[in-house]
Symmetry: C2
Subunit: 471 residues, 2 copies
């Protein structure tokens, strides 16, 4: 399992490959690499290597493969499932592979190295007058290599797809150190198996992504954000269909927030206020964008909401009339995790179900968890437009953190069981890593688990790449 002893000979060889600037071995320097961002996993490693070129990555992997020692690739270390935490293996940080090799405004592509911070990729696209649409909370520190190897989601999936769909080509170092140069920037290429798909979303277990050709898009010139009260989750789903049709598929964001998640924000986050006059039980934050030169999203949005109001499923709405006002609305949604944290301990989920079944999921899951923990605060919000709900429980008043968290395994099981029963997923966007490896075995069919094992054996027979993760 890539768990052969790391000899001083190998350590020396790796240090030589990456040079004096390319490694760290002292405990305090290692700290940011061995602890995951939530502090749930503390790993250990004898050596962090920080190769500066793909040739160095290749040489590092080759040396480790020859010694049968495992490697854990790590980008910005912002993952939520412990996928980048080493357990004695060599840690390979992609942070120094940070060149933006090319931005081509005619081809609408950017060729970037794995260690580029997502925000820098976005900025490079913007500088060329274009958009790289991947956007998520960690964008100031996560790296594009990590985004691609985990098939990151975020707030623009509804319109632009997951990270996987934003890639035209990849450069990858394979388990024996071979470099596969698949850095194509073609929109069409039907010449055999689409190998890049193997490495996208496989969390570094089949190969290490060192560079990618990304798709860029025309930059949005018009944005309209609305905060809408609807009568029920069903009403929210109905509004989504209406907005998609009315806007010509211009809905970029469609986020659900229940009353509790809004209340938590209003209570714990300074300078926030309910944008609507009265209390409502269900809300949607929605955003339309358009890259047309001239457009009138406001009338379009008003007409869509008006229709929902007349049909009785939209109750009230606030449309942001300035960028500052739009940012205020977004802040309500983006502050939920922070508000949850301030309010107490949380038991969290990242499930998805078919969009049409979100209302049924919310009802069944709420009922089931309240049977187990009648006083818990259910906090339900998330990317309704993708069927991806963060169905969370917060520590009830009068229960200690430890007593509450003792329920986590049972509650997790209950919620995931319901999602999977409803044709859903136990991990919509955060991946598997270490945290959900047992869930994968539990929820996937034996056929599917065996297919995954077949792939892993074929591409990494010695289990060198991120051993112990995913499968």
């Amino acid at each position: 399992m890539g768990a052969a002893t790391v000899t001083s000979g190998l350590i020396g060889r790796l240090k030589d490959i990456v040079g004096a600037q390319g490694w760290l071995a002292e405990a305090p320097e290692l700290e940011p690499y061995v602890l995951d961002q939530r502090g749930w996993y503390r790993g250990h490693t004898p050596l962090v290597v920080r190769p500066a070129t793909v040739a160095e990555v290749s040489a590092v992997v080759r040396a480790c493969a020859e010694a049968r020692v495992g490697i854990v690739p790590q980008g910005g270390n912002t993952g939520l499932v412990g996928g980048a935490v080493p357990e004695g293996q060599i840690l390979l940080s992609t942070a120094r592979l940070k060149r933006i090799r090319e931005v081509d405004p005619v081809d609408f592509t950017a060729t970037v190295e794995a260690g580029c911070v997502l925000a820098d990729v976005q900025a490079a696209a913007a500088e060329a007058g274009l958009l790289f649409p991947l956007s998520l909370a960690a964008e100031g520190s996560c790296e594009i290599g990590g985004n691609l190897s985990t098939n990151a989601g975020g707030t623009a999936v509804l319109r632009y797809g997951n990270a996987r769909e934003l890639v035209l080509g990849l450069e990858v170092v394979l388990a024996d150190g071979t470099i596969w140069n698949g850095l194509r920037r073609l929109r069409k290429d039907n010449t055999g198996y689409d190998l890049k798909q193997l490495f996208l979303g496989s969390e570094g277990t089949l190969g290490i992504i060192t560079a990618a050709v990304l798709k860029l898009f025309p930059r949005p010139r018009h944005v309209r954000t609305a905060f809408v009260a609807v009568t029920s989750p069903e009403a929210a789903v109905r509004l989504l269909g209406r907005c998609r049709a009315a806007s010509g598929d211009g809905v970029t964001t469609f986020e659900y927030m229940d009353r509790t998640s809004l209340e938590l924000v209003l209570e714990h986050i300074p300078d926030t206020r309910d944008p609507l006059g009265e209390r409502h039980a269900h809300h949607v934050l929605l955003e339309l964008t358009s890259s047309r030169e001239r457009d009138d999203l406001e009338s379009l949005l008003e007409a869509a909401l008006e229709g929902g109001y007349e049909a009785g499923y939209v109750v009230d709405a606030a449309i942001a009339t300035s960028e500052a006002r739009s940012r205020e609305l977004w802040r309500l949604r983006e502050s939920i995790p922070e508000a949850e944290r301030v309010a107490g301990a949380g038991i969290k989920h990242d499930i998805s179900v078919p969009i049409a079944r979100v209302p049924e999921f919310l009802e069944r899951a709420r009922e089931a968890v309240l049977r187990e923990l009648p006083d818990a605060l259910v906090v339900a919000f998330g990317h309704l437009g993708d069927g991806n709900i963060h169905f969370n429980l917060n520590q009830p008043p009068g229960m200690t953190r430890d007593a509450f968290m003792a329920h986590m395994p049972g509650i997790n099981r209950t919620v995931m069981d319901i999602a999977v029963e409803m044709e859903g997923s136990f991990s919509a966007e955060h991946g598997v890593g270490r945290l959900k490896r047992a869930d994968l075995e539990r929820y996937k069919s034996p056929v599917e688990v065996e297919l995954m094992r077949t792939l892993k054996r074929a591409f990494d027979p010695e289990d060198i790449l991120n051993p112990g993760k995913v499968i």
Copy 2:
């Protein structure tokens, strides 16, 4: 190589599995299954099975796997590279797997069986008020299973992507007969390797697709088609960028046609006329669509063209003001293959290069082939918006068909060499099949060929599935 002798025992077992309505073994009945649509390949098979359920497909594959006899899956048999032609193997037709299992207008999905004809899938989506955007010349007879296993392209790739991007889930029969049920309809599901990607585009060599969950989209309510004369291929590329930005990425079609391709159509296809007053060397057929309830594509298109006119790269344009007029413009583009056929023998290509390099490709390829065949008629047209050009040569006057076609291997080599040198693909949308298997070995890096072999060995170690194709 899946080439064990087919015994009468196996034949009997297969007939039992599919029942009396499910097989064909007499020569005249076999004809449509063993001859490809262009008549380039005539294969042979001892038995055509037409299973009616996935369980029957599974049992057929299991029986063949046990006997180590190869299977060639076939959909509508409209492929252009001989990928569905049997060479002594059992032929498995998906034609009876033709149920549309579900259309869900809330989830924007359709669940269909592999044997559904593409036009029927489009119609089912339209009946629900939605759009399934895959569209290509053979849509009246090709089957969705074939479209997915070849990752079909067509005329709406620019806006909606290839077939691969239109799929949420698959049901697949594996090489040993096991059924993998991956019929998920989730927009987000990061739980390990994305197995469906393996079977999409692998031309039936890794598994047989029996059903799929497809993405649907809001139906376009507005369409504007224009036939535009531009000063050069560079001008066409520039116009594409301008239209993408001006329309908010609403360009669905962007097809290039050189003068020769237009002339061929005007000469050989009845009731066609040049939509523009004067002769021009380079044309674009472009179409904008919008699914907004209210929209004004015409002003948008006029403004974009006006800008190109003022900047000097657009020379003239005709905007269709009725559906009939739009169909006339489309007919000019769609009739090119037929016009080529009437005009004489053709040497054809389906290459792609990065969009920005299409002009350079056209220049280099023209120069190179005219060096080899100075009198040949170069016919260049195709999906410029995808970088996918059909760069064809037609038989020159005064040269016999045979003398002309004797140049095919050399010309093919020349054109593909140039495309691949320019970071391009030797097969953009038609696939590999039998026709381009040697090209795959020639143009792919050894690393990539070996990765493909690794996949094939892992998923079909006995070479049961479509042996001799792709890799």
